[in-house]
Symmetry: C2
Subunit: 327 residues, 2 copies
DNA sequence: GCGCCGTGTGTCAACGTCAACATATGCGAT
DNA sequence: ATCGCATATGTTGACGTTGACACACGGCGC
């Protein structure tokens, strides 16, 4: 900066004013300074800025490694919005759900220069009672527990699950079986409860839900179990990957999809449209979730207090994996 | 820091020495200082450190948003390794392949505090001649062009493509059709060339390759085109997603997989095992690629010069989507 | 007894930036 | 003519850390 100031024949402060477009600067001076910056290839030193201002213009994101497709998309959206707002992203991966690694992530974070944190970890896995979230550091939760004191941003899981279940009922199925996600996942729980509520509100039988771990493989295992049940004509899987596994299990046993059994997924994986048969699914909008998370965090940062964002809606995409039951 | 020093009855410099385990500190003093740090919840200010040392302990990653599954996994691996090495990750998303946005990413990066950059963008899209990579900033390329002056880390695309092609030939197919990735992708090009070389080295006919854009949908379109060709019994798709689309196209036309046509993918998507039929594919190891990229960058940072890493191998996973041709 | 070295600790300055304050000029209003 | 205000620029110090240097003490070899 000093070099630029000398080159332009002004003081460092004037350079600072030009860079930040703050305060009065004569037009001719501004041009001279900009010229000098150009010539010398000047870049403001962000460390010094951070030191001076106490702000790092950086957002920390805590996320499980090997995360789901949806979370990856959310991360992507967070990165894009953060970049738009002039913030950098610092990614803190958590290698497993072991509790001390989550705590370790926080410890690592505290030593890094972030102004706020977005946590993209299903809340049941993140037992807040045991992981102290650093005091005074704004936090936004994604895909998480409403009970928290921090603002959260999430998809409207309940609405999506209702859409899926109602679709199957509306085309004539007598009830809908459910392959749920892992017990400790908040999203899985909400999808399951909404599925149950939908059935109950119509006075229908509620079959015992099965449980997977989001992977296609666990969906396959659940599908194999369903083969033994009587009268399974409609299955709602808590995500698309498990739906893929369910489809495979039925196909392998010679049952036709959707002739014998209709299957609905959840997520809106782009590839779901190209499966055979194309999969009916609930489209989520992780890009909206990510952008909202950044916005909520920045609002907190700007001292606007914890702003609660409305849930992000979903849409049902009907494809060929669902059809009315055979009479 | 001053507070800790006062609390422990020492100077700030001694606190610094304790924190960094550098220089001589009496055992009793060390304990007193550590106690004080604990009590006061002291955290070193990374901005001040960076300002003083000129090092940020941060790696910048430039990557396309809406990136492929493999790149996401690579990012994940980079994050994990960086964290292990005590580095933070700053993610700079590039929203499209438009050239000025890539340049913009660099500009954004320069203003941020990074010690080095890992670029996870297929090199043909990143035309280096037109995007000046900041001078003096160590760079490692992933999934990229060998012609660059920077070290690169990559999967052995050629080996994988050869494995896939040879597998189909070895089980009796007369030739292998190819659905390639986008023309401007370096990985796509190498897979295509290796497929061609393998056929030619056996003196077999080389059918005209089709081209997709990595999506399942483009694979479907390619598959539809293949329906019109004579004698298609084996297809090697340049990634798993396009393979999914190819399978759909054939299925929809009433052709059996693998009875009428064998299909091989590339990537090793976890869900590929649960497709119907389970997909034969080439397993990549993005986690190794990511870790190597970080290692290579840190080596550069430590002044060890540009270290070239060997290519990461792949393995063929044979599943039920491939079978000998019908006689 | 003297100097030297290893150990333990403190003082000072500097990293690059910017807020706060001080200074200077010109112009319109009183 | 004087004052007030908007404009334009410079000076100073502080953000938190650490490298360089200085100082102090005790033990060892000669």
């Amino acid at each position: 900066m000093e070099d630029v100031a000398r080159e332009a024949g002004v003081s460092g402060q004037t350079v600072s004013r030009v860079v930040n477009a703050r305060g009065y600067v004569g037009a001719a001076t501004r041009v001279r300074v900009e010229d000098a910056m150009q010539r010398l290839g000047y870049r403001p030193n962000s460390a010094a800025r951070a030191l001076r201002s106490g702000r790092f213009r950086t957002i920390g994101v805590i996320m499980f490694s090997f995360s789901s497709y949806g979370n990856q998309r959310t991360l992507d959206a967070i990165a894009v919005r953060a970049a738009q707002m002039g913030y950098a992203l610092t990614l803190i991966p958590v290698e497993s759900s072991a509790r001390d690694t989550v705590a370790g992530a926080f410890r690592r974070l505290e030593e890094h220069a972030v102004d706020g944190i977005i946590i993209v970890i299903e809340a049941h896995q993140l037992d807040e009672a045991e992981v102290e979230i650093p005091e005074g550091l704004p936090v936004v939760l994604v895909d998480s527990n409403r009970a928290s004191s921090h603002p959260y941003v999430d998809t409207d899981q309940a609405q999506g699950a209702r859409l899926a279940t109602e679709h199957l009922l509306d085309i004539g199925h007598e009830t809908v079986w459910h392959v749920a996600g892992p017990a400790k996942s908040y999203s899985a729980e909400r999808r399951r409860e909404s599925w149950r509520d939908t059935l109950e509100s119509r006075g229908l039988a509620v079959p015992e839900p099965l449980s997977g771990d989001w992977t296609a493989e666990s969906g396959y295992r659940a599908g194999v179990q369903l083969l033994d049940e009587e009268g399974v004509t409609a299955v709602f899987a808590a995500n698309d990957q498990m739906a893929i596994g369910v489809v495979r299990a039925f196909r392998e046993a010679g049952r036709d999809i959707p002739g014998d059994v209709s299957v609905v997924g959840f997520d809106g994986l782009p590839d779901a449209a190209q499966l055979w048969p194309p999969l009916t699914t609930v489209q989520q909008h992780p890009e909206r979730v990510g952008a909202l998370a950044v916005d909520a965090l920045l609002a907190e940062l700007d001292g606007e207090g914890a702003v609660q964002t409305p849930l992000v809606g979903t849409e049902l995409i009907v494809r060929e994996s669902t059809a009315p039951p055979r009479r």
